[in-house]
């Protein structure tokens, strides 16, 4: 789908910190999923082999907690960066380049569905972040908080049951498991397929690793953003313009 003979003018889409955090979170999340499901399905044959390899039930718990802290530290760093961006760099967290969900996302979603069913000739005009990208982001960001809290309930049950009823620990166990199941399905299947196998980006959308998008990619995938960039040179996406 990529035409290399087009003008290769690139723009920065993700900063180094965002790229780094994405890689670290991907590692942490995969580790959490492996160790977590190894805990949940400990009787399955292959898990017993894995469990032996990772140092038994205790080893798996320690690893799971390590990955949990590791991943959450990434979330905290991201949160700190948001403050830095807003307060020191005087950046804007709202507007067309924002991650915040808005009414237009619902509209583009409906238009997109209409496009899928051939009720519309062209795909809708996505902004810097399309609705599914926002979903990916917020699913993880909110999910980390809830998984974190239920996880802490199980890590320090004595502390939490000193002021909460004991069945909160059982609830936490249940919710932690089902949310983990959901998160793994969303991240490992939906997210991975959307960024690789979707015809628009096939074989893969590598912008989260290179940090760069070409002009053509912006125009094709985020026409709304390109409009905004053309309308004013202070568009949120224009951090650094390079030609390679």
């Amino acid at each position: 789908m990529r035409r290399q003979n087009l003008e290769q003018e690139t723009y920065q889409r993700f900063s180094v910190l965002q790229r780094l955090l994405h890689i670290l979170i991907a590692i942490g999340f995969t580790g959490l999923a492996i160790t977590g499901f190894a805990r949940a399905f400990s009787s399955v044959g292959i898990v017993r082999a894995l469990s032996w390899f990772l140092g038994g039930a205790d080893g798996i718990v320690s690893l799971h907690r390590f990955f949990a802290v590791f991943t959450y530290v990434c979330v905290v760093v991201h949160g700190l960066w948001l403050f830095y961006f807003k307060i020191i760099l005087k950046g804007s967290l709202t507007g067309r380049g924002s991650m915040l969900p808005c009414k237009k996302d619902l509209e583009t979603f409906l238009e997109h569905v209409r496009y899928f069913f051939a009720q519309r000739k062209e795909p809708p005009s996505f902004d810097r972040f399309a609705y599914w990208e926002k979903m990916d982001y917020w699913a993880f960001f909110i999910g980390m908080q809830t998984m974190g809290i239920t996880g802490l309930f199980m890590w320090f049950p004595e502390f939490f049951s000193s002021f909460l009823p004991g069945y909160f620990i059982n609830l936490a166990q249940l919710l932690h498991f089902y949310e983990a199941l959901m998160a793994v399905i969303v991240k490992m299947f939906i997210h991975t397929i959307v960024v690789t196998l979707r015809p628009e980006v096939y074989p893969a959308d590598l912008s989260i690793f290179t940090g760069k998008v070409t002009k053509e990619e912006i125009i094709r995938h985020h026409p709304g953003e390109w409009e905004a960039m053309s309308a004013s040179t202070e568009g949120a996406a224009v951090v650094k313009k390079e030609t390679t």
């Binding site: 900063s15 180094v16 910190l17 790229r19 780094l20 140092g55 020191i88 760099l89 940090g211």
Partner: protein, 473 residues
């Protein structure tokens, strides 16, 4: 004919079997004491029922007021008040779970109580790895009397007071270990168990560069050193990011952004291998110093590799201790009297000392043209030399006052030589040891605090500049 053969065979078999049975019964079993539970039904002491019934079996005798044993002419009560024990932490543990060698004839404990079956050594709290030659119950039991029955043997609870009155230890009362007073049973001037006179703080995490240490900063001295060092480092980094890029006024962010972009593009490119080469040849193998001269490389390497090796060893120890506390490997690694650890640490310490002395010799007596000695060079060298020297002295004093037997102590050969020197005249080493420990620790605190300011800054800056200039290699 056939029947007769069969009968004969059966009879021979029966005789052979009974002879064998007779032989096994007649074989005297003097080597091993008789185990009660070999014949009596063994309870499953991992279940509550088993624990209750096992405890009841012991109480059968041990609740009697006349349950006692003789110690010379005196009698020691072995009566266990079940009410006492029911209130203790170990109320749901069977007696024979800890007193592992009592269920046998003769009914006498040789090993004493066994804590390590459940509790790992040094699993919690930094204090444990310093007390590997002290039995658990010597500190954790309320009885204040401790003794060491043979030189170099473990320190354990005494069964008689210093006045010779027998003590009953059957109460199972534990000390409040949050209370510092329980340290005083050993750590006072003139103690007989070979403990330093003062209660010393635990090592700090900063000590990890040379010693296995807990994950806590610990003493205020180390906090101060860490804060000063970090402020200095922050100042250094701020200095690097000063100045403007592309004629902007405020450019720290710009510099960071451009710098990180550059690092990213190098790491994910083929140049990564040339960077690896720089790390290996220039940072690890010190190629540039070697090019300047073998002697200079040797002096630097004696210090640098020794520190590096001790650092790697302590980090390895920390990882093993955190992942499998109580394992044989972890126990050997945290034990500073262990032959391998003691010898390694002494050899490396000696290398550092030789390196420092050689460098001082070059700077002050040989004075080659290329050497330019400033105050900060002398200070850094003197600091490292003092650090190593006090380390050896403290080790020697420790070996002397704790009375470690020569076959164990000989592995730490420098420390053992020092201990022989101290043995010539006892100038109250139990007290001096505390001061020596503080002095050694203070030297390291100064090292950490001074790191970003003087000569020692090269530990951070030289590898960085080598990496930045990797293309010039």
């Amino acid at each position: 004919m056939k029947t007769r053969f069969l009968v004969l065979a059966l009879a021979t078999g029966a005789i052979a079997l009974s002879l064998f049975a007779l032989w096994t019964v007649r074989t005297p079993r003097t080597e091993q004491p008789l185990q009660c539970l070999d014949c009596h039904r063994s309870r499953n002491i991992n279940t509550n029922e088993g624990i209750q019934s096992s405890q009841a079996f012991c109480y059968e005798c041990h609740k009697q007021p006349d349950c006692q044993r003789s110690l010379g002419t005196r009698k020691v009560s072995l009566q266990v008040e079940s009410a006492d024990f029911r209130n203790s932490r170990h109320q749901y543990v069977a007696c024979i779970h800890c007193h592992t060698d009592v269920a046998r004839s003769p009914h006498k404990s040789v090993l004493g109580v066994q804590c390590l079956g459940c509790h790992p050594v040094g699993g919690d709290g930094p204090v444990h790895s310093e007390h590997l030659r002290v039995r658990c119950e010597a500190c954790h039991t309320a009885s204040p009397f401790v003794e060491r029955d043979q030189p170099g043997g473990p320190i354990k609870l005494a069964h008689v007071t210093p006045d010779g009155v027998p003590i009953s230890l059957a109460a199972h009362k534990q000390t409040d270990v949050g209370n510092k007073e329980f340290c005083d049973r050993c750590h006072h001037a003139g103690n007989m168990v070979g403990a330093p006179a003062a209660v010393l703080p635990s090592k700090s995490f900063l000590c990890i560069v040379c010693h296995y240490s807990p994950l806590a900063i610990g003493h205020p001295m180390f906090w101060a050193a860490l804060i000063i060092g970090l402020i200095g480092l922050a100042g250094l980094i701020c200095f690097w990011f000063r100045g403007s890029v592309e004629a902007e006024k405020v450019s720290a962010h710009k510099k960071l952004s451009l710098g990180s972009e550059l690092v990213w593009s190098k790491v994910f490119s083929r140049e990564f291998f040339s960077i690896l080469k720089t790390i290996f040849l220039d940072v690890l193998l010190q190629r540039r110093i070697l090019a300047a001269g073998v002697r200079r490389w040797a002096i630097h390497s004696l210090i640098y590799y020794s520190f590096l090796a001790r650092f790697l060893l302590s980090v390895f120890t920390l990882i093993v201790q955190k992942t499998s506390p109580g394992s044989q490997l972890a126990l050997s690694l945290i034990d500073k009297n262990n032959g391998f650890i003691a010898a390694t640490n002494d050899v490396l310490g000696l290398f550092i000392l030789v390196g420092v002395l050689w460098a001082l010799l070059m700077r002050f007596y040989v004075k080659p043209d290329y050497v330019e000695t400033k105050e900060q060079d002398t200070f850094a060298l003197a600091l490292i030399g003092l650090l190593t020297l006090t380390g050896f002295l403290a080790e020697g004093m420790r070996i002397y006052i704790t009375g470690i037997p020569v076959d164990v102590a000989a592995s730490s050969f420098v420390g053992y030589l020092c201990s022989r020197l101290f043995a010539l005249a006892d100038l109250g080493w139990q007290t001096v040891y505390g001061y020596m420990w503080y002095f050694h620790a203070a030297c390291w605190a100064v090292f950490i605090a001074y790191l970003p300011f003087g000569k020692l800054r090269h530990i951070v800056t030289t590898p960085l500049s080598l990496l930045i200039n990797y293309k010039k290699a």
